[in-house]
């Protein structure tokens, strides 16, 4: 019993040192359709998506948004809204090799300059515009035309001293716009 008390005391004492960490990541949680604005629901209905629509609330440090996730021609698609239900963009996943040759080469040139090696994990076309424009793009089966769009690319980037996952944003012409290192959630409870 003495040992048991010692063990419990050790646990309690060590708990005092528990890091009172602040949330560093976006907080995403499922939303029931009853809690989604009518405006956002009506917009998504007009897109003729195939699969079940799942709604999420994403909270950043200073921002909140609502996201609808579904499928279109077996590809993952997500529609992002502000909290009032106004559409912000539509992202649809495509294979890296389906990006137009000249645009892909321009992006690849930039990535080759940054990394010694890289591996593209996910590519999404990000369509921008007002409701009318985005519905018109959906009727055109999300084909890339002269409409305003960007490419969001998730890739594993290797440099001389690190291997990390990054999110890059390129313009529709393949020009570099933004780069962010993806911070993974803590995996200590899976390792030990």
């Amino acid at each position: 019993m003495k040992h048991a008390v010692f063990s419990i005391c050790t646990v309690l004492l060590l708990t005092v040192f528990s890091a009172n960490g602040q949330d560093k990541y976006e907080h995403e949680s499922r939303l029931k359709i009853e809690n989604v604005s009518e405006k956002a629901i009506r917009f998504v209905e007009k897109l003729s998506l195939e699969g079940k629509i799942k709604w999420y609330l994403e909270k950043g440090i200073n921002t909140s948004s609502i996201e609808a996730k579904s499928k279109f021609e077996r590809r993952n698609i997500s529609v992002e809204f502000d909290t009032l239900g106004t559409v912000e963009d539509i992202e649809i996943e495509i294979p890296w090799k389906h990006v137009a040759d000249d645009v892909r080469q321009r992006m690849a040139k930039h990535l080759e300059a940054v990394f010694t090696k890289y591996d593209v994990r996910k590519v999404q076309i990000q369509f921008l515009g007002d409701e009318k424009t985005l519905i018109s793009i959906s009727k055109d089966k999300f084909k890339v035309t002269d409409t305003s769009h960007n490419y969001e690319i998730i890739l594993k980037g290797v440099t001389d001293d690190s291997v990390e996952l990054y999110e890059f944003l390129f313009s529709g012409d393949g020009d570099f716009m933004q780069k962010a290192k993806i911070i993974f959630r803590n995996i200590d409870n899976l390792q030990f």
Binding site: L14, T15, S18, G21, R30, S162, E164, N186, D188
Partner: protein, 227 residues
């Protein structure tokens, strides 16, 4: 605790089928502290205690008999060797029956992230040195899956389910045994650096011989990360 006792009741009902197999049931609390040392390097400290509440044969009635068994103090250093991989080496000091047992640990972990779940493979070996006993060598493989009960990732203030399934090959002198573990846990993330998990830790061993040995632990794990 009610759930744990219910599980014990189910075990009692299985006693006829399990014949002369023996069992142990008790508590297995642990605290797991992780500290980042430098880019790619981290240090893990773990304290785990084992306490038996009841033990005996499935075929016989057993009485409640609390006794403390052991405490393990473990330190493991890890090096990230890829986007999702880490190699680790460590040491466990075990205090049991007034004796000190030493264990050396080597492991490799590979973590995969999917849209709504995470999967981790852990390959490890360890060598245990106990006074007046041959060195025990173990080769282990553990598969861990974790999925959130809300949304697509485990966010702060959310519950999740974690399931460990492990195979341990144990070699000691000329003896060999295989132990299989199944550990379903319910977890809660206070924030990304502070998680609490609780559930059943079931261990089945000696089933290659005539009489198997089952151990049921109420596992309570606290994971803390310090930057």
């Amino acid at each position: 605790m009610k759930c744990f006792l219910s599980i014990l009741s189910v075990i009692s009902c299985l006693s006829v089928a399990l014949g002369q197999s023996n069992f142990e049931a008790g508590l297995l609390p642990s605290i797991n502290i992780n500290k980042r040392i430098s880019e790619g390097w981290s240090q893990n400290f773990k304290v785990e205690s084992r306490q038996v509440l009841i033990e005996g044969l499935f075929s016989e009635k057993s009485e409640f008999d609390y006794h403390y068994v052991l405490t393990d103090f473990t330190a493991i250093t890890s090096k990230k060797v890829g986007l999702n991989n880490a190699i680790s080496a460590g040491y466990t000091l075990r205090l049991v029956d007034g004796e000190i047992v030493h264990r050396l640990i080597q492991q490799f972990t590979l973590t995969k992230r999917y849209t709504s779940m995470r999967l981790a493979h852990r390959f490890s070996t360890d060598q245990t040195f106990e006074p007046n006993t041959s060195m025990e060598f173990r080769v282990r493989y553990r598969l861990t899956t974790e999925f959130p009960l809300n949304g697509q990732s485990v966010d702060p203030k959310e519950f999740y389910v974690k399931i460990n399934h492990e195979y341990l090959n144990q070699f000691q002198a000329k003896d060999y045994d295989l132990e299989v573990r199944l550990v379903p846990l319910l977890g809660y993330s206070f924030n990304d650096d502070n998680k609490l998990e609780g559930g059943l830790d079931y261990r089945l061993s000696s089933f290659l011989n005539d009489s198997s040995s089952s151990r049921f632990w109420l596992s309570i794990n606290w994971f803390i990360k310090i930057d």
